[in-house]
Amino acid sequence: MSAASAHLEQLPRSLQFTLGLGAVALAAFPFIGVDGQDYYIQMLSQMMILAIFAMSLDLLQGVTGLVSLGHAAFFGLAGYALAFITPDTGPVSLWWSLPLAAAGAGLAALVIGFFVVRTHGIYFIMVTMAFAQMIFYLFFDNKSLGGSDGIYVNFKPSTAIAGLTGGAELFDLENKVTFFYFTFVVLLLVYGFLRRVLFSPFGRTLAGIRVNEHRMRAMGYGTMWYKLTAFTLAGALAGVAGYLWAAQTGFVNPELLGFHLSAHAIMMVILGGMGNFAGAIVGAFAFEYLMHVFKDVTKHWQLLMGSFIVLVVILAPRGLLGLGQSLLNRMGNRAATAPAGAEERKQHV
């Protein structure tokens, strides 16, 4: 698999329909009475948050072709930002803390990106990992920043708007179901936004950079600035996810910044299928679910996880959606994929 062949941008209609059904099922889940409802709602909320994280990485990896092993740094930074600005006495307002945390993560991405996007290929992978580990050690080694123990987020953000509601919450994030739906809405908003970006001139330029950066430069595009913008935007969106994670779990620690989480995110994006943001969502859910299953099966779950990763890389390089697409192709669903094929062909001219 090469990053250039992520032809998953337009999925065949039947796959789109199935994914839509999945979204509806997800939205309806809290109304189905299952045993241990609370636990599953929390688990699904976490999966949705990771899906947002995976989508932000997909912008970098699937669309622009930049493989970052340090993306979790921005996820973690926003989480820590929430932890720092939430006072011990009461909650902080969602409406300014979320944009602030995301902007902070974006700013960090801008600074790091400035050094990092001038490198290519394997260097890019290595330096993103190195910078992210630097941030990890910054938090791990410093007691004032929480150290290896981490920091608690004492209160979930409040949604009250002083002028309008006079102190009452618009919706109560302490309620697990409300939080679930809030996350769901954010997920849909981020997905919609990223799909718009994908097919905007900016997004098309990023895809062009992925396919052949030299040609883009020859055509006059300042590719470094496009890559930097993509890196910053992806960092800010990862920050949104990180903020939600901190709000949901109430706790941040340096592991949220580490390269293990970054590698998990890469795995999620690949597992689902790169370049199409729905793939990132599918991959995040599948990966998290599998991790839960493996952890339940044995203490030595890492062996299963590692073997699974190896198998996926060898057997299913275009991920689950890619498998789905090839399956449909073979079942004669060519009419639905022809427009996508024509669109890709136009791009290669």
Partner: protein, 287 residues
């Protein structure tokens, strides 16, 4: 800082740098010649250290443990190359990153199954367990000097191998143009296997000789891997000479940093890397 202290820190920095070089050389060779990025390189270091611990307990001698361990790790390297890595030379870097990341998990569990999760100390050989006095109050451990000596010998050996032997000539030819080399009748697959095994062996031996000093613990692979990456990025991928110079640089900067400015010592090396990247995004030396 008086001269004796300075000398001690200098020796420490050089010793750390030389150890990093052994790891970085393997990583940069494997990447330069086969184009494979190997995140599991740190795992070989860890496996070497644990091997040293268990083998030296069995044989009663660290020296024998290192010899046997080196042989075992070469065999492991050959087996891994044949089973997995050989199929990934032509694949995307992304696939290689994921594959080797999966391998990290697998190696962690293998280590856990074989040797458990505890931290262990490895006995230093009695013969080397003394210190050279430098002043009335300060002395320097001989074992560290021996470590540096072994690394220097291996570095010289590597240099001689690559530039003065026929095998080295074939390796360089294979790095330069794989297909032409194969067309000339040279068994490039064997060359790749040898280089890979060499890289694994160097990493494992590094872990083995470092074991008495750093003790043996589960996450030792990860922390050394990141330093190794920094060294390779600064030195330039594919350049062994660059790896040596940048390893020494990183070793000295890190050691003196911890002594002189402990608050930012952890970040110093990364700032160095950032500075190098601003001027030379491809590292100090080209292949």
């Amino acid at each position: 800082m008086d001269f004796a202290n300075f000398l001690i820190q200098m020796l420490n920095g050089l010793q750390y740098g030389l150890l990093l070089f052994m790891l970085a050389a393997g990583l940069t060779l494997i990447f330069g010649i086969m184009g494979v990025v190997n995140l599991a390189h740190g795992s070989f270091y860890m496996l070497g250290a644990y091997m040293a611990w268990s083998l030296s307990a069995q044989f009663g001698s660290l020296f024998l443990a290192i010899v046997v361990g080196a042989a075992l790790s070469v065999v492991l390297g050959l087996a891994l190359e044949w089973a997995l890595f050989r199929h990934f030379y032509k694949r995307d870097h992304l696939d290689q990153v994921l594959l080797t990341f999966g391998l990290i998990y697998i190696f962690e569990e293998v280590r856990s199954l074989l040797w458990g999760d505890d931290v262990h100390a490895v006995q230093m050989p009695e013969m080397l367990n003394w210190s050279i006095p430098l002043t009335d109050t300060l002395s320097y451990p001989v074992y560290r000097l021996v470590m540096s000596g072994i690394c220097i010998l291996l570095a010289i050996g590597l240099y001689l191998l690559i530039s003065k032997t026929r095998l080295g000539m074939k390796i360089r030819a294979g790095a330069f143009n794989r297909d032409m080399t194969e067309a000339l009748g040279i068994n490039i697959r064997l060359i790749h296997a040898v280089v890979f095994a060499l890289g694994v062996g160097l990493a494992a031996v590094a872990g083995m000789i470092a074991a008495p000093i750093s003790s043996v613990y589960p996450s030792m692979g990860g922390s050394v891997l990141i330093m190794c990456f920094v060294v390779v990025v600064i030195g330039g991928i594919g350049s062994v000479r660059g790896a040596l110079i940048s390893a020494l640089l990183v070793g000295l900067v890190d050691t003196f940093g911890k002594v002189l400015v402990p608050q930012v010592a952890g970040m110093l090396v990364y700032m160095l890397m950032a500075a190098v990247l601003l001027y030379k995004p491809e590292g100090l030396f080209k292949q």
